[in-house]
């Protein structure tokens, strides 16, 4: 469902060229729970952003669901992200003026194939699943970091995306909260056959991943699946 060939991303800053990704070929299938690991600066975020249609590669191709994403217009990419992809970032970036439930609903509100009663019901269900049912009308600032990240995950999965991307979702969390998040990922991967691609540089996370892609200097140095 995801395929890349010879993916390169070069950042130019004046005369200096940074090869953030230097020829990445990979294929990821449906239902996989993939961990992208490697030291800081090795290109993990860059790869995730390219796969998630948040950035443009310098050269190489990306196919998502057999679609050459280069052919999509900016608007089509936005719609692709809205309808097919979900994201969780290191920063939870919830809308501070929206309640927990409203934050979770937001992407669903924008979809023309979703009815209000339906996504409201889904929201209730998901909040229950992440253990925040009683906080649904709270504002994000009234929640702890771990709770906010769980809300961000709920927001990412409310539309039942084909692929869930997560860029160091546990970076700001302590071990206990990290485990909660990882268990949640494990659960949705198992129960919903949710494809998850997660970036991490914490070794202890690796036990959750079914497959680990290790990057160094923009190249894949290990792919265990």
């Amino acid at each position: 469902m995801i395929r890349t060939t010879n993916l390169r991303k070069i950042y130019r800053m004046g005369n200096v060229e940074v090869k953030a990704l230097d020829g990445v070929d990979l294929t990821i299938g449906k239902g996989e729970f993939v961990g992208i690991m490697g030291p800081s600066g090795s290109g993990k975020s860059t790869l995730l952003h390219l796969l998630g249609l948040l950035d443009l590669q310098t050269t190489g191709d990306i196919w998502l669901d057999s679609i050459d994403v280069d052919r999509l217009t900016d608007y089509e990419k936005t719609m692709f992200r809205l309808y097919k992809l979900g994201y969780v970032f290191q920063d939870y970036a919830l809308v501070p003026e929206l309640t927990v439930a409203e934050n979770v609903c937001l992407p669903a509100m924008l979809r023309s194939d979703r009815k209000e009663e339906e996504y409201r019901a889904d929201t209730v269900k998901i909040l229950k699943q992440i253990g925040l049912s009683d906080r649904s009308s709270h504002l994000p600032r009234e929640l702890s970091g771990g709770e906010q990240q769980r809300v961000a995950i709920a927001r990412a999965i409310v539309n039942k995306p084909d692929i869930l991307f997560a860029d160091e979702p546990c970076a700001n969390l302590d071990t206990e909260n990290s485990s909660v998040v990882l268990d949640l990922f494990d659960e949705i991967n198992h129960e919903l056959k949710q494809t998850i691609i997660m970036v991490s540089h914490e070794d202890w996370h690796s036990k959750y991943f079914h497959r680990i892609i290790r990057l160094r200097d923009g190249k894949i140095v290990e792919d265990s699946g």
Binding site: H49, G52, L54, D55, Y75, T78, M79, R81, L82, Y83, L85, G86, Y87, F89, D91, A93, V95, P96, E97, L98, E102, L106, P107, M109, L110, S112, L139, R155, A156
Partner: protein, 404 residues
């Protein structure tokens, strides 16, 4: 950009204003309201002043339409026929002649130069409301002889010393007193003061009136001529239309409406008002634009990362842009509403307690059209000021926004 997207943008905007910083929203609304008031206040005050001046000129000087002798002539001749002709025209309420003569007024020790105006009281009453402005005694009657009515300024006040007077006066004339009038042609006569009026219009309050028949005695002949004729129009007729009718019937080659006269007389004053109005308008627009620009820019800068992430999860950039755009629109609507309330209250206050000077009394001449027009201008400026930063932030690369 569908209905759904606009709905979400409005939802985000409303929530952001309701649950965001209350004080900054209120402050912004107050500033817009003040700018609106500033935009409205001076221009409508000037309009009010202009209006009171115009009213006084119509009431006490020239009527709605002024018929003057053709250039080169000193008088409108063939007066009675001319008056009959004018009075028969459609749209004419009444026409009344004026004839004045320079004279010296004497009362006790005081001597005062003035001009004595002759009127036909019955006709004059249909044109000028002077007869309602009597503060003592009564107005002239049609057949009065040897009677005069004088303005408050001429009458003076016996309690004010002569050297303290702003305008010279006869030093405290009262109704029933006798004053001596010596005309330029040497004719001298004592008149009994029948009434004293006060209009607030300086040149009228410095005038004295006698009947037409008394003036005929002064001139020693029957007066079938006038210096000018003032015409009152009927309600529903414009001054211009009556002027055109009078012109077309060849009443006189010189027929002018009040507006014709005003544009000559106070045109330059109105021009300087226009400049002041323009400055206050531009200043208000600039302040509103800058304030809203700053408010929205700060909002967007503080939320760059959040905006990046919202876009990442599939919120289209148009939704982001309209979110901030709607916030500005909502703030502007509240601000302008506040401004309308403040301006209306000011107008109400000034209508109850106008600023009164000898020449004019100032109230705010505020029409719904002024309010609508200024609202639209300010609204447009506000929307522009908000959408510029909103547009910019919504176009930023998702990547760089998220990396902040």
């Amino acid at each position: 950009m569908g209905k759904k997207e606009l709905k979400v943008a409005l939802f985000l905007a409303w929530r952001s204003l309701r649950r965001g910083s209350r004080s900054s929203a209120i402050l912004t609304i107050v500033i817009i309201g003040m700018c609106f008031t500033n935009m409205i206040f001076l221009p409508s005050l000037f309009a009010g002043i202009g209006q009171t001046i115009k009213t006084q000129i119509v009431d006490y000087e020239v009527g709605n339409v002024l018929v003057s002798p053709q250039s080169g002539d000193q008088y409108v001749t063939d007066l009675d026929a001319t008056l009959d002709l004018i009075n028969g025209m459609p749209g004419v309420e009444r026409a009344t002649p004026h004839y004045s003569k320079g004279a010296t007024l004497k009362y006790r020790q005081r001597i005062l130069g003035s001009s004595i105006r002759a009127i036909r009281p019955i006709d004059e009453k249909s044109v000028s409301p002077l007869y309602t402005k009597m503060i003592a005694g009564s107005y002239l009657g049609e057949g009065d002889t040897g009677e005069i009515i004088i303005g408050k300024t001429i009458a003076g006040d016996s309690s004010i010393r002569e050297e303290d007077e702003f305008y010279p006066s006869l030093g405290g004339v009262r109704v029933g007193d006798s004053i001596t009038v010596e005309y330029g042609n040497g004719y001298t006569k004592d008149y009994r003061v029948k009434g004293i009026f006060s209009t607030g219009w300086t040149s009228t309050d410095n005038a004295a009136f006698i009947t037409w028949s008394d003036m005929e005695l002064v001139e020693g002949e029957s007066l079938d001529k006038a210096e000018y004729i003032t015409v009152k129009t009927k309600p529903g007729y414009t001054e211009k239309s009556v002027k055109d009718v009078l012109m077309s019937y060849g009443v006189s080659p010189k027929v002018q409406t009040t507006d014709d006269l005003l544009s000559k007389a106070i045109g330059s004053v109105l021009q300087s008002f226009d400049i002041i109005n323009m400055v206050s308008l531009i200043v208000s627009i600039i302040i509103t634009t800058v304030v809203l620009f700053i408010v929205i820019t700060i909002k967007t800068i503080n939320s760059r990362k959040q905006i990046g992430i919202l876009r990442a999860i599939g919120v289209h950039k148009e939704v982001i842009m309209h979110n901030y755009g709607f916030q500005v629109i909502i703030l502007a609507v509240f601000g302008i509403t506040l401004g309308i309330v403040i301006a209306s209250l000011l107008a109400l206050y000034l209508s109850i307690y106008p600023i009164v000077t000898p020449e004019w009394s100032a109230y705010m001449h505020l029409t719904p059209i002024d309010l609508v027009w200024n609202s639209l201008i300010l609204f447009a400026a506000a929307v522009f000021a908000g959408y510029v930063p909103a547009y910019q932030v919504s176009r930023e690369e998702i990547q760089s926004a998220m990396r902040v």
